[in-house]
Symmetry: D2
Subunit: 132 residues, 4 copies
């Protein structure tokens, strides 16, 4: 049950395994799931959480597209991968900033997850820019 090992088993990867990108995939996969859960938990709170529901839903959708695209290793386009990583960083930072305003365990966990995901996407992006 390791998405990173799975990517390394792609027939064309071998020694060319991109560790920071695989790390970003793993965290974006988790962040998609955590944000989907946070949107649901927020809707069950008794205070007005509509902005948090919105931003968690956006972040979940974007993280999911990001991890699916960044997982693939067959003949991709570098500009597309870099662009989706950039959008993922944006969505995660905005979602984290909103979740940090709310004092409940699911928002705290979601904010931490979003910050980690943004960091990993940034490292993957830096690595891809260094190779360009």
């Amino acid at each position: 049950m390791s998405i990173k090992k799975m990517i390394s088993e792609h027939p064309q990867v071998g020694a060319d395994f991109n560790q920071p990108l695989a790390e970003a995939v793993k965290h974006a996969m988790y962040c998609a799931a955590i944000c989907n859960s946070c949107a649901d938990a927020c809707s069950a709170e008794d205070v007005d959480m509509r902005r948090c529901i919105r931003l968690c839903s956006d972040c979940s959708d974007i993280c999911e597209a990001t991890y699916r695209v960044a997982t693939r290793r067959t003949s991709g386009d570098v500009a597309v991968i870099k662009s989706v990583l950039q959008t993922c960083i944006e969505a995660c930072e905005v979602c984290a900033a909103e979740c940090e305003k709310h004092d409940n365990p699911h928002c705290r966990r979601c904010a931490t997850m979003c910050r980690e995901c943004a960091d990993d996407c940034r490292k993957a992006l830096d690595g891809m820019n260094a190779h360009a």
Copy 2:
């Protein structure tokens, strides 16, 4: 069965309906579906279509995240919406350029769809930049 009318019925939209963004939503929804279909049709062709499968799959995932995010009208973040539109334009242009290389009906239809989707996302983005 109109996603544009649906968006206009959001309780906070009213006179503030964003026509170019709603157009982009409709075309990104269709483009997600057409690219998913094209990836499948490409895998059934007897020639090597692996790059086309890859780019159609990426474009489908990104269009889907784009239309879901751009549909929402509750308390969103403008920078996130603009960033996902930008990524969608990138993915659509790259996918169209690849599909245009292949002489079969599904790739021709997919290329046309991707160019239209990119155009609509560009208009929506221009509209949002003009209001900033």
Copy 3:
């Protein structure tokens, strides 16, 4: 911009085009988008819509998986397609029943869409059972 024509252009489809299944694909694609929009619009209402948000979110996710699976024509598994159509009918009926309780335009539109999608999935399923 026709997902039904797109499916008919798959290299192995030809005379074997499944009209009711293609109709179900089109409506499930729209229903995924309409339910995603309704969940967002419900979160902006001033009354308690949390059950409606939940069921629209579930229905959107299930419709999306359904249309993506039912679109593909390369070497599929009939039991999987039938099972996802069955789940889609269930999710649409439950979502429609909830939306029908709320007197606002987006819930009315969403309920109508869900009933149509359930009907089309039922016809596609009946057609597949008749061929079994």
Copy 4:
């Protein structure tokens, strides 16, 4: 980075945490990612993998809808959750049977993942049936 702990932090869960369902969520999340990766790796193989690409793509889409629906704890519908779990079991078993035919590391890993996901969905379903 634990989707199970995240679910337990939903405001209405508390002592009512459903352990087998949370286990199914975790594995369906991973299975969605592993199958998406396997479809991509299969398209890069030099032998005909089109049936495996198809069934991995279907399984990825269905696992994703399953984990998103099964994660939510706000006011859900038991019949919808049970139906999507049933479809997920079907898709995972069919995908595993196909992957087991291919002697490469990504298909072996994907088959193992699919069998585990099917097992966990079955346990979650049994638990829900026992409570009905």
